[in-house]
């Protein structure tokens, strides 16, 4: 048997160093890109980011003034979205974590469906919102209750929020299921041994224990929903509204849509550039701080799980 010639140690050391530094360099490149997005947005927008900018209406054909209606619209939309998505998400997560057995075909199908919802392009949700909520539900509601008068069969904040709720459903499900699974088996068994039924255990032990997880899921969903634009492009977002939406069948302004419209379709893109950067900064700070909170919460859940097991 021929023994392979031994590679000198020095070559190996060099190769090791090259591999480590090359892969380490890619990490640096990615982090540099993240920092440059943040840095350039902050540099371009912080001067225009005043209290007036946050609290005033747009003025002079959007060239001056603030973005208050867009902030309000985004907040209201994410609120309705949360109310719709979180209960659904929590219940589905409870089913997947507590009731579903390993081999259940039904549970496997749900898992696959949730994953599919997570990867379907956001624009498809927009199309669905248009085809289902507006054209199907809205038109039928109008015909049934308002004698065909156009009230719900047009884009509005309710349909946009429900569309967004569908989009953020998988985010909630995944986060809550993960949190439920970190609750130690002992606690469930202790509850059962005291005579509690499965549902009583879930209600009194599992759900209170996974409150942090539900909060994480909610925050992640809000962060996602606040930033997405494609689903609301034609389900409710408006270029400009003269007054804030007071009824659910009104259109609304949203931060993301505002950025898109201002940077691509406004007539004086260069003139409003600082305002666009400031709007982007507001949106970025919003989603960024929300995901930061979620990351910290998640870290704490995992830490707790490690300590208790």
């Amino acid at each position: 048997m021929k023994i392979k010639r031994k590679i000198p140690v020095s070559v190996r050391v060099v190769k090791d160093a090259v591999a480590t530094s090359l892969t380490g360099f890619t990490v640096l490149v990615i982090i540099a890109m993240i920092v440059s997005i943040l840095g350039i947005t902050i540099a371009g927008g912080w001067k225009s980011l005043t209290w007036e900018f946050l609290t005033q209406y747009p003025k002079d054909g959007m060239t001056r003034g603030g973005i208050f209606p867009a902030i309000f619209g985004t907040a209201l939309m994410t609120l309705i979205m949360t109310i719709a998505a979180v209960p659904f998400g929590v219940i589905t997560a409870v089913y997947l974590a507590e009731y579903a057995t390993e081999k259940s075909v039904f549970a496997k199908t749900i898992r696959f469906a949730v994953k599919t919802l997570a990867v379907v392009p956001s624009i498809i949700f927009g199309l669905f919102g248009l085809g289902f909520f507006i054209k199907f539900m809205g038109t039928n509601i109008d015909n049934a209750f308002f004698g065909g008068e156009l009230r719900w069969g047009q884009p509005n904040i309710l349909w946009a929020s429900l569309t967004m709720a569908l989009l953020t459903l998988p985010v909630v499900i995944v986060a809550v299921e993960e949190a439920i699974r970190t609750i130690p088996r002992d606690m469930r068994e202790a509850s059962m041994a005291l005579g509690a039924t499965k549902w009583q255990t879930i209600r009194n032990v599992v759900l209170p224990g996974s409150m942090t997880g539900i909060l994480t899921g909610t925050i992640l969903a809000i962060s996602r929903g606040a930033g997405e634009v494609a689903p609301i492009l034609f389900t409710g977002a408006a270029y400009y509204v003269a007054e804030l939406p007071v009824s659910l069948n009104q259109q609304f302004m949203s931060l993301g849509y505002h950025i898109y419209i201002m940077s691509t379709q406004s007539t004086n893109v260069d003139e409003t550039l600082p305002l666009q950067f400031a709007t982007t900064l507001v949106l970025l700070l919003l989603t960024f701080s929300l995901s930061l909170i979620a990351v910290i919460l998640r870290y704490r859940i995992r830490k707790k799980a490690i300590h208790s097991s």
Binding site: T116, R224, T267, L290
Partner: protein, 409 residues
């Protein structure tokens, strides 16, 4: 199974007297039974949603296949559109008849817009390249002409047949809905984006999983995951305002917004997905593999490239495929950074128009129930089917392969 016991259920639990033989017998409890059924049926909705999404997106594209003349549809169109108060300055019908554009103006979505806003009909124009096909005259002609008129016009091609042509000219007297340039554009951008994102993300994941010290790992992972929280409209804005000019200075190409700029921006969106999933795949490789390799005297580098990487290959493939799915369906970045000109070319520095961007740009301006409207929904159905298939392949084929490989079967 004593159904009358259900109302005492709660009291027994609270007082503790329920710990009698009745528990051992596992009696029927209505509240438990009801809760389980309710939870189960609510969870069913996630399956229902996926089916509903496909059905309703596909439903709106059906008129394409049913045949064209659908008088009911035309009527609905006129009815819906009469609610928009927009003004369109001139109306031009191929036949020569002049008609007020008020009724049929497409801006249904923006009742609050003022008249000047109607000029902003083409999102394409913010790029430097303005496609020739979108002249103002053609636009007004298209939008003001009634549906029925078009159908009876003998010069107009059958819309279904034009789906396979090479021109995407939905806004013209003779609308052509060739999907080929859109497919080519999407493919070009997707390929470029993955070529940019996949190596970066996989190398970074390798570093975090194998080489990085523990402390650094705990910083790097959340930081890259934060990138996943960046809204795509922010990345699109960054590409439009910063990257486009930056790359133009380096490469000196003609059109500022093009496939390359869009691909880099979309790569940024795909990096966190590929990174996270690859990292998961790498750490899922059993510790014994690493220990065996290190025990034989291999360095960490040799272990990483000869043991861990091969073992995790199917998982990494799945990660890249899911990244591909993300790029393929990405709308806002495509809308803002790719230039939106439906050209067929191999040059990465030409403007392109992707499938999803086409939907995003044109849906708001289209006449409800029109052929163009149906074609956009058809594109949506195709996008859905494609991402669904990608997800299924990643989920079933590659995940099973990972499990089999790690179990050594």
């Amino acid at each position: 199974m004593k159904q009358e016991d259900y109302d005492t259920d709660k009291k027994e639990f609270k007082s503790g007297t329920g710990l009698s033989l009745s528990i051992v017998e596992k009696q029927f409890r209505f509240s438990d039974w009801f809760a389980e059924k309710l939870i189960k049926s609510v969870s069913f909705f996630s399956i229902a949603f996926v089916i509903l999404i496909f059905l309703f997106v596909f439903r709106e594209s059906l008129p394409l296949f049913k045949g064209k003349a659908d008088p009911e549809k035309t009527e609905i169109t006129g009815d819906e559109l009469s609610h928009s108060g927009d003004l369109r300055p001139e109306a031009y019908i191929p036949g020569g008849e002049v008609q007020s554009g008020e009724e049929l103006s497409p801006e249904v979505y923006s009742p609050y817009e003022e008249a000047p806003e109607t000029e902003v009909l083409q999102p394409e124009t913010y790029g430097d390249v303005i496609p020739e096909t979108y002249s103002a005259e053609e636009q007004t002609g298209y939008f003001s002409a009634s549906d029925a008129y078009y159908v009876t016009d003998e010069e107009v091609d059958d819309p279904v047949r034009t789906l396979f042509s090479k021109d995407w000219q939905p806004v013209s007297d003779n609308p052509r809905y060739g999907l080929l340039p859109l497919f080519v554009g999407t493919l070009k951008v997707t390929l470029l984006a993955i070529l940019f994102a996949a190596p970066l993300a996989i190398m970074a994941a390798l570093y975090t999983a194998m080489f990085a010290p523990r402390r650094m790992k705990e910083i790097i992972k959340p930081v890259i995951e934060l990138l996943a929280g960046f809204p795509s409209v922010v990345i699109g804005f960054f590409a439009l305002m910063v990257l486009a000019s930056f790359f133009q200075q380096i490469f000196g190409y003609a059109s500022r917004l093009n496939a390359f700029v869009g691909a880099i921006a979309m790569g940024l969106a795909a990096i966190p997905i590929i990174y996270t999933l690859t990292e998961d795949a790498l750490t899922a490789v059993p510790k014994t593999y690493v220990e065996a390799s290190l025990g034989l005297g291999a360095s960490i580098r040799q272990t990483a490239f000869s043991v861990i990487l091969p073992a995790a290959t199917p998982g990494i493939f799945a990660a890249v495929i899911l990244g591909l799915g993300r790029v393929f369906g990405e709308t806002m970045i495509a809308l803002m950074a790719t230039g939106n000109a439906a050209l067929i070319s191999a040059n990465p520095f030409d403007s392109v128009r992707t499938l999803s961007a086409t939907i995003g740009a044109e849906m708001a301006e289209v006449v409800f129930g029109d052929t163009h409207y149906s074609v956009l929904f058809l594109i949506g159905s195709l996008l859905f089917i494609f991402t669904f298939a990608l997800n299924a392949v990643a989920e079933f084929y590659f995940k099973n392969k990972v499990i089999r490989r790690i179990q050594g079967k």
